[in-house]
Structures are given as C-alpha cells and as structure tokens.
Symmetry: C2
C-alpha cells in the first residue's frame, strides 16, 4: 500500500466536500423554496458516499500499513496524522448511531425553531436531553472516559484543548471584561442616532463591492452573495464564497459581516499549492479560523486608520445620512458598547462574555452538575452576572442559538478563543510590520496579508492550534494581548 | 432480488444526476473564473460515481433477476425497460474507452474553439476524424453492424428512429421549405429598422420577469438566470432552472430564449409524483422535449394573439423605442424571414433546413460516402442549395457548431423533428381546445397546460417517441401539420 493510494482517497473526499459545500451554498442563496426537500436528500447521499469512502477497508488498510510515516517527508507525516485523526473519528461511530444522530438532530432543530417562536423551553427540553445523550455516547465511542466527555467534544473543534485549559483563560477574561463593561456603563454613551436612518440597499450593496476591492478580495477566485445568515464556504481552491445580509435600517451589520467573512475567505484562499485539494487545506482549528475573521473585522475593520480611508467613500454613498457626521463620531459608533441579550448583536467587549456563559453551562451539563431542566434559570442568573441584563423570555435567552439544537456542544468556545489567538498573533505581526496602522490607513494590505500567509495560512491544518501559536509567537495561549488591546482601545473610547 | 433494490439504485442515480446538474448550472451562471479547473474534477468524480453505481454487479443482477417484469404493473415494466436500456448502453462500453473518449472530446473541443477563431478547418480535421472514429466504435460496442452505425447514434437521442425513418420526413420537408423560402424572398421585406435601437438591459430583465409570470412559470419551483448560451436544467423535481442572455441591441433574442426554455421547463416541472426521482422523470426523447420548447416559442410565442396581450406591456417598458411601432409591424418583426448562415440565428422557416443539411452530412460521413476533408466544400454546396447563401469562411460554415467537436453525432435531427412532433400534437390540442387562440390572447394558459400535462408531460419517459405520438395523435410521424402551419402562416405574412 503506497501513500499515493491514500492521497487518491483524500482527493475524492475533498471533491465530495466541495460538492456538499456547493449544495449547501446554493440552498442558502439560490434554491427555489420548494426545492428544499430534494436538496436534503442530495446532501445526505453525498455525505454518505464520503463517509463510506472514508471508513472503507482501503482507507484503514492504507493507514495501518503506513503508520506514522516516520521515514516520510514532514508534509506527508502531517497528512497521515490528519487523515488518521479524521478516520478514527468517523470509523469509531457505528453507522446506525450516525443515522440515529442525524435523524434526532433534524427533529431537534425543527422542535427548537417552533419552541423559540413560542418561547416554550419545555417543548424543546426532551430534544435537548436526547442531543446531550447522543453527544455523551459519541464521546464514549471516541474513547473518552465518563469524566472527560466534554473534553472529547471540545477536541473535535479545538484539537488537544481541554475544558481545564479553556477555563484557565476564560476565568481571567471574564473578570477583566465584566470590570471593563462596568467602567464603560458609568461613562456617557455617544449619540449615534444617525444610525437610525434609512440606508438604501442598492448603495449598501455598491459599497460592499468597493469594500471587497479595498480589502483585496480576489473576485476571480470567489464571490459575495446574500443569505439569511452570513457565512464563508470553500467550493474549490479557487472558489471561496462569502455571504452577507442587508437591513435598510442597519448600515453597519452588512459591512462588518463582509469584513468578518472576508477574513475567513483570506485563510481559505491562501493555502499553498501543495496543500490544495488535500485534507491539509483547512484551518488549524475553528478558533484559529475565527481568529482571522475577528482580526479583520475588529482589529482592522473597527480601527480608526481603516475608517480614515474608507469613511469618505461611505459618505459619498450616503451623503444625506452621513455628511453631517464627523469621522470621530462614526468611529465611536462602530465601536459602541451596548450590552445586548443576544450574542450575535454583541459588541467587541461583551461578546466573549456571551461565549463564556455558554461554556460554563456546557461544562456543567456534561459534568452532571446542572440539570437540563434548570437551564433557563441558570441562563438568567449568569446573564445578569456577566452582562448585567436579564432576559424576559427564553426566546431571548437560552433558546436564542441554533447550535445546541443541532447537537453542537463544544463549538461555542472557539468564538472567544479566536479573539485571544487573534491578538496574540497581532502582537507578532506588529513587531515585524511596525507601520501597520499607516498601511491600514493607506488601504495597503499586501504586506499584512503576506505576513499572515507566511505565518498562519500557509500551514493549513499541518499543526495543532497550540503548535501553530507556539511557532508564531513562541508562547502558549494567553489572555494578555487581547485584554491589553481591548482595555486600551475602550478606555480611550470611553474616556 | 426485489424491484425495490433497483428503485434504490435508480434514486441514487437521480440524485447524482441532480448534483451534476447543479455543478453544471453553477459553472455556467455563478462560478468564479478561476474555479473552472476544480469544477471539471468535481463533475468527473460525480459522473464516475454514477457510472460505477449504474454498471455495478448489483444493477446487472437485479435487472437479470427481474427480466421484463411481465407480472408487474405497467409503471414498473416501463421502469424496468428504461433502466435496462440505460444499463445496456453504459455497461457495453469498456471503462478505458469511456475515459479515452472523454479525454479526446476535451481536446477536440479545445481544438475546435481555436480552429473556429482562426477559421482553420485543417487544424480541427484530425480531431474530427478521431471523434468520428470513436463514435463508430461506440455504435459497434452497442451492437450495431457496420452499415447501421449512424442508426446506433440516432437511437441514443431518438429511441427506435432510424436514418431511413428520418430521411422519409426530411426529404419532403426540405423540398417544401426551400420552395417557401424562395417565394418569400420574392416578396418585399417589412421595415423592421426599429429593432436596431438600444433596449436597456434592466428593462429587458424586468420584462422577462413579467413574461415568466404571464406564462405561468412557478418561481417557487424554478428560477431564471443569465448564461452565455440559454439552457434548461433540472436540479430536482421542484428545482428547474432556465437561463437567458441579454444584448442591448437585440430585444427579441432574450424574449424568445425565455419562452423556449420555459417550454422545456414546463415539461420538466410536470412529471407526476409517481415518476419523480426516477429515471422515468424525463422527456420521451430529445425531439419530444424540443417539440415543447418550440411549441411555446413559435406556435404560441410568435403568434398574433400572444402579442395582442403582451405587446402593450412591452411598449410600456420601451415607450421611446416602440410607441410608434404598431402591433402588426411588431408581429411581422418577430416572424421576419431572413436566411442566415448561422443556425442559431435562423428564422422559423429556414431553421429546419440548417438541420437537414447537418443530417445529410452526418449520414454520408458514417456511410463513408463523404470524406471528412471534403466537409467544407460539401457544406458550402448544400448551404447554397438549401438556404441560398454561401459562407465566405468555415468559421461561419462547417465550424459554427460545438456539437461535432464534442462527438455529438445524431443529435442535430432532434431539433427539426421537434418542429414536426410539436405541430402534430398542436393539431390534437386544437381539436380539444377550439378557442386556443382566444385563450392565448387572454393570457390564459391553464387549459392548454392541463392538456399538455395530461397528454404529453404525464408520460415522462414511459413511452418511446413514436408510441407517445401514436397515443396522442393516433398517427405516425408526419410532416403535414408542420408544413400546413408554416405555409399558412408565412404565406399570410408575406402576401
């Protein structure tokens, strides 16, 4: 058995992943309403073909014959490690379990949608219990002992990161962010009532096209479309698509969605040729991927230098709405801190607190120290404690996110870890590109891009997140750079 | 082996066909330019998966065990016949031959593109010879004897129709159409210079949207997009997509593309529930499919009653260009007979002559009575004889169509046969819907649609084209209805 056999299997799996990505993208952006039913059958068929291929005897035999590949070049060893990991994950789950889980997740999502509409947690509770149980069994199949179930789930999204590792950073993060939030609450808020105007959609669209050009998004290798929830998807090495949405009364939403998804797209577009079409053409982890989208969205996109250049362009699209609004006020508006009950509406300061709350709840659920029926009360208590707000309804509380209904436990922490990774990486970037701010103010992103490609994107999935971080920064995961960034920025904004 | 096993295989094949259709649609309408390379790999993988599944031992065993299914209900017998036919076609071709053919076709298409640009038939000739040879071998694999090679190729698109059957209708068709064309040429042409104006694309687009509504195209089950060449594709039973193109100096092109493709889409959208997701959810043949697109485009779309209703709507989109143009002149413009060297620009009278020319050439090529190197001269001679024009270049002559470069021999006749089928069917429709013209003039297509669904679309691929025609009309294929229609219409137009 030669490694080329395994490469052939991997290539087919990548193409099937591309095909599934296209089916998904099309469903969110183009599909005629009544086409939904067939679409889920088509997706199910492609994923079952991919599953069959991955867990086939041929894959297992090739992996066993090749072992860790000690005599092979580094790239091939990394390839073997990632293939082995993916294979192990899937082969350990019995086919009947996978089918049961998919069915249960479908029912659970549908039940969640209705429960959320009706603000009826009790109706969702049995499904939540089923999904928790399914995840517990999954971690067991993967070989995690009873007291390490949550670690097993976290590991799927953030390889080799345990709940204890995450707690170690989330605890100081929570303390400092709640303190910062309280400080800000005591200061006067800027008057950003200019945001509450009508911003015509055709001009929002035209500005987004210009924004993509400014950022350097290569339209010969990707595209921007509209969907209910913004996302990024890779349909090929040269076909990375992002989406956004438009609200006539909300100019900022679409702009920051575009910048966020562009950050994801840059990562996906920058894998070197030798990784393309292989399982290594992927982010190091969910959180590392999120570090890039958040870096572009927040560190660059919500910075003063960025808007020094872009704001006049935006004003010329919306002269009636913005000509009387000075840059400084606009800059304050894009960084307005306004605690919200809803995670996806959260500002840069409170966002991580929403995540930490979910992490604490997931940890306790799998530790057995929190009963699912007590979730709404715990949610309200923690929201009050972390964000200072208490939801009046479960629809705006524990029922707000789709993730748990799909059985995605262990996914949320990525969002906040991304903030930490992003700022640790940013610190190294600043050391090597000291005129970072000037470059951003001039709309020159080539050097910044080149640095990110070389240090982050070019590695693809060859390293674990902690290995990658160590290679770039020489350090372990730390909250310090993020906290220093956010405290400096927001103390100045709310002086 | 139970028939349900075969249904399961068929269902998977249908979903894979849907997936391939989406990959193709996306390539023509959405794909970022640099995504092309990966896309052809994705398409190749899906078609090879479908091929493997179709020619698998399981399929062969099920077909052998079930035989013709004499004890089964009629629907299951039809299903078995179509499955058997598709299986036989594919299983008889060695995998190496299929791969060779795909590779040769790719090279040939590329060579044709360059040759056409450079007006260099000699450069394309070796590829043409290869494709002819491949088709000869294919017919042999399928079991057609040396003197019936062309019949074997025709049968792929038009089951059970031989070259002799087609000649029997094409000969009188050619004689009467050339005579009609000469009569028309002797009459004064209408002044349609109003067509040579600028028709803004946004208004063309808006009119097409209105046109779809007028025709009754269900937008919850399909969509209209833009591509270089108009086409219709089925991505699911409730996901039928059509495309058109826009030229600012050509208003009519996009309108008649939309009506033509809508005719195809109506067929695809109207298969009854018991055929959906099976191999029977297909047209009876290429020509029967074309009979529907041409029926909607020409018999309805180029009729006076149709424009009596639609023309005021069109004028209100283009008041500057059309308000001074009376309906009668517009009606003459959409039916202007103006012989062209180019098939796709041909009018309703001369179109079939372009097809008959290609049929005669294909017949002689496979009979060995025409050498490929003599094609350009033969083309020029026949064009002069049939259409009265002689191309100055091969680019506008023998090199104009993509079909032969792809190895599609035997496909062209469908286009002209569609005209004949369409008018034979129309005659029966008129007998049962005598106020056809009034309904068209009122924009009421529900009764016409219902008749077509019941008599044509509901059968899907259950009957061969001649069986379907016999069931609808009680007759064999005949040129009479088409010739009567076209002679009556155009004698009146050019009185």
């Amino acid at each position: 058995m030669h490694i080329d056999d395994l490469h052939k299997i991997d290539r087919e799996l990548c193409y099937l992943k591309n095909v599934a990505a296209l089916l998904g993208w099309d469903q969110e952006t183009q599909l005629p309403p009544k086409g939904v039913e067939d679409r889920s059958e088509q997706l199910a068929l492609i994923s079952s073909l991919a599953h069959e291929r991955l867990v086939s005897k041929a894959t297992g035999a090739a992996l066993d014959a090749l072992g860790p590949g000690e005599e092979l070049p580094a790239l091939e060893r990394d390839f073997l490690r990632v293939m082995r990991r993916t294979y192990d994950r899937e082969v350990k789950l019995p086919a009947a379990f996978v089918a049961d889980e998919a069915r249960a997740a479908g029912l659970s999502q549908a039940a969640w949608q209705t429960a959320r509409q009706n603000n009826d947690f009790a109706a969702f509770l049995p499904h939540l219990k089923t999904m928790l149980d399914m995840n517990r069994r999954k971690a067991e199949y993967w070989g995690f002992s009873d007291d390490r179930v949550y670690d097993g789930l976290l590991d799927l999204y953030e390889p080799s990161m345990s709940a204890a590792d995450i707690s170690a950073v989330f605890t100081p993060l929570r303390e400092r962010l709640t303190a910062l939030l309280q400080n800000i609450a005591a200061k006067p808020a800027p008057d950003v009532s200019f945001l509450n105007q009508d911003y015509p959609l055709d001009q929002q669209t035209a500005f987004n096209v210009q924004l993509l050009d400014e950022l350097g998004f290569d339209k010969t290798r990707g595209r921007l479309d509209i969907s209910a929830h913004p996302f990024t998807t890779s349909i090929g090495a040269n076909d990375v698509r992002i989406t956004t949405r438009y609200f006539s009364q909300n100019l900022l939403s679409t702009i920051f969605s575009v910048i966020h998804e562009t950050g994801h797209a840059f990562y996906e577009m920058s894998f070197p040729p030798e990784l393309r079409g292989t399982c290594l053409a992927d982010g190091a982890s969910m959180a590392i991927h999120e570090s890039q989208s958040r870096f572009w969205e927040n560190v660059i996109g919500r910075s003063r230098p960025f808007w020094t250049r872009l704001y006049p362009m935006l004003q010329s699209r919306f002269p009636k709405q913005l000509n009387a609004v000075p840059l400084d006020l606009f800059y304050r508006a894009v960084n307005q801190v306004k605690p919200s009950l809803i995670r996806v509406d959260a500002d840069e300061v409170s966002y991580s607190l929403h995540i930490i709350l979910r992490f604490e709840i997931e940890k306790q659920l799998f530790a057995g120290t929190l009963r699912p029926e007590d979730l709404p009360a715990t949610w309200r208590r923690l929201m009050k404690e972390y964000i200072g707000l208490e939801p009046q309804s479960d629809a705006d509380g524990v029922l707000q996110d789709i993730h748990w209904s799909m059985g995605s436990f262990g996914y949320f922490p990525s969002y906040a870890l991304g903030n930490l990774y992003g700022l640790q990486i940013h610190r190294c970037l600043l050391a090597e590109v000291p005129d970072f701010e000037t470059q951003v103010a001039c709309g020159r992103f080539d050097e910044i891009q080149a640095w990110l490609v070389k240090n982050v994107y070019a590695w693809g999935a060859r390293l674990t997140p902690s290995e990658l971080l160590m290679k770039i920064t020489g350090e372990k995961l730390s909250v310090t750079p993020f906290l220093e960034y956010i405290e400096t920025k927001y103390t100045a904004l709310y002086a």
